[in-house]
Amino acid sequence: MNKFKSIFFLLVSVFFISGNVIAQTAASEAVPMADKLRADGKIWVVVAVIAVVFVGIAINMLRLESKVGKIEKELKIK
């Protein structure tokens, strides 16, 4: 099982990397993109902010899950 998981993970990462390489060679100078943000590395701040917000929401949902689960166990609902 672990062997398949690691092969799968390698395949997936190959797809991602190849996608990036292809995009760089085919980049059209004509259409302006946010390359400055990327070159600065500041784009990661944006990613981090959104990810933090989402992780906060996810943690809250999981807390709700456990609370509801506890009540259900107490009332012995299936």
Binding site: N20, I22, A23, A27, E65, E72
Partner: protein, 227 residues
């Protein structure tokens, strides 16, 4: 339905969408530039919403054929999740439009159709709240839900294609599939749809469980009070 695996999957998928959505490669398109990435959020949300509302309609049909109130529970909460996504979709679309076209509500048939669709589902909630008796509420609401979805699909998908529209696929714009949906986008777009659907399901499922807990508590309370 209480299994946790699909909820963890949902979190993983949405985190993947957030990271790859912003960092991954996208086609360089004029006018849209980087905002094509909104596809993973705004568009995926709409598709997830349609799925949720469709499932809600299915459960309404199941309620009408079975009379089991549990089906109506699910139908109503899925409709609420769908409505929530619809409102988010309209807000996010408005932000995107005001940035791209300078107008937060360009007179586009899809937007107007979406607004009417939201009103229809708000009316569904209003209808539900106007009944005291659970079974009667469920029956009438289920019938309304089926009609609501039957009206919603043409409003959002068919009518906009018949006229000029800013949205892809209608009035002179290339369809979604052919032009700006290349493989780079697809890699994040499909997981995004699944992630948002799962998230909407999760929201609905929590509310369904709370509804059922309250119903059991009410029944217990009534039983205890009986002489």
């Amino acid at each position: 339905m209480k299994k946790i695996w699909w909820k963890i999957l949902c979190i993983v998928l949405l985190l993947y969408v957030i990271v790859n959505g912003l960092m991954g490669p996208v086609p360089h398109l004029p006018i849209l530039n980087e905002s094509i990435r909104n596809t993973y959020f705004h568009v995926a949300l709409w598709l997830a919403m349609t799925t949720l509302l469709f499932t809600s309609m299915i459960f309404s049909v199941r309620y009408l054929s079975s009379g089991n109130i549990r089906h109506d529970d699910v139908a109503s909460e899925l409709a609420k999740s769908g409505l929530f996504y619809g409102i988010l979709g309209c807000l996010s679309g408005s932000v995107w439009a005001s940035f791209t076209w300078g107008d937060p509500w360009p007179n586009d048939p899809k937007l107007n159709g979406a607004a009417v669709g939201i009103l229809i589902y708000l009316a569904y909630l209003l209808l539900r709240s106007s009944f005291e008796d659970e079974q009667r509420r469920a029956r009438i609401a289920s019938v309304y839900n089926i009609f609501a979805f039957a009206v919603f699909v043409p409003l959002i998908y068919i009518l906009p294609r018949l006229t000029d529209s800013l949205h892809p696929g209608s009035g002179g714009n290339s369809t979604f599939g052919s032009y700006d949906m290349n493989n780079d986008l697809r890699m994040v777009f499909y997981p995004a749809i699944i992630g948002w659907i799962l998230f909407g399901l999760w929201l609905a499922e929590l509310r369904v469980r709370i509804k059922r807990i309250n119903r059991i508590r009410e029944e217990d309370f009534l039983k205890v009070r009986k002489p």
